[in-house]
């Protein structure tokens, strides 16, 4: 079993919530992430860009009812990093 690891990139509140929202799902649309996090488009785009740059999430575009939509999903490395981060959080809590 791999050791838990605290990931600074994931731990920022908005990025942590983005990863948490994507983790149990296959794909999530930009609109849904924005609604769940309660942030503006620009703030969300900034955090998504940071996660994309390190290869934790990816996006794909498609059209639903003629409208272009952006869908996001966790990559294998992003999923692994998130799992290790959660493990580390649990370890911190259980150590107290």
């Amino acid at each position: 079993m791999e050791d838990s690891k605290f990931d600074v990139m994931i731990h920022a509140p908005n990025r942590l919530q983005i990863c948490a929202l994507l983790a149990p799902l296959d794909q999530v649309e930009f609109r849904v992430i924005r609604e769940e996090l309660g942030v503006s488009d620009s703030v969300l785009s900034k955090h998504i860009k940071q996660l994309e740059d390190i290869g934790y999430i990816k996006q794909k575009k498609n059209k639903v009812n003629g409208r272009a939509r952006r869908w996001f999903y966790l990559t294998a490395s992003g999923r692994r990093a998130f799992e290790l981060h959660v493990q580390e959080l649990k370890r911190i809590v259980s150590n107290m």
């Binding site: 942590l16 149990p24 799902l25 639903v64 649990k90």
Partner: protein, 170 residues
Amino acid sequence: MYIWFPIWKVINFCTMTNKKHIQSKKAQEALDSINKIQQAGLKRVLPTPVWLGAMLGILVGTQIALLGAEIRTYNTILIVLILIMVITIINKTQSVGVVERMMLSKRAIIISLICIVLLYFLAIISGQYLNRHYGYYWAPVAIGAFFTFGIWSLIIGAYQLYNKRTNIPS
């Protein structure tokens, strides 16, 4: 110096304990926020409505029964209705903005689909065979009903699994 040393140690220990306590509290808060948003995300996933699943099951079962009895008159209309059902289910999933993660691997999904298609044709062929050679007129109907029940059970199973994952009492 001798007197102050242990006091420093005590102060240091208290500070460390306090820091640890704050860390632990923040970690717990982070874990709580993760659970909360995961539940919110899962609740957005709409399971295939039970009535839609039941209709799909009835349509597929009817088609198998009719083809088994070698009645092809309504085949085209049944195929069109089944396609409309499938498109409605896909469209409903797309419009909510979340797609649920499949528990099965891609390989398992492909194998399952191949098995379902094979079973579908096997059901039609066995219905035709039993009807033609043994005169069992009820056989295609029984096989069709069996398929309807199978699809219905799958939809109910998926629905209950969804409720379990999102902690909604059924």
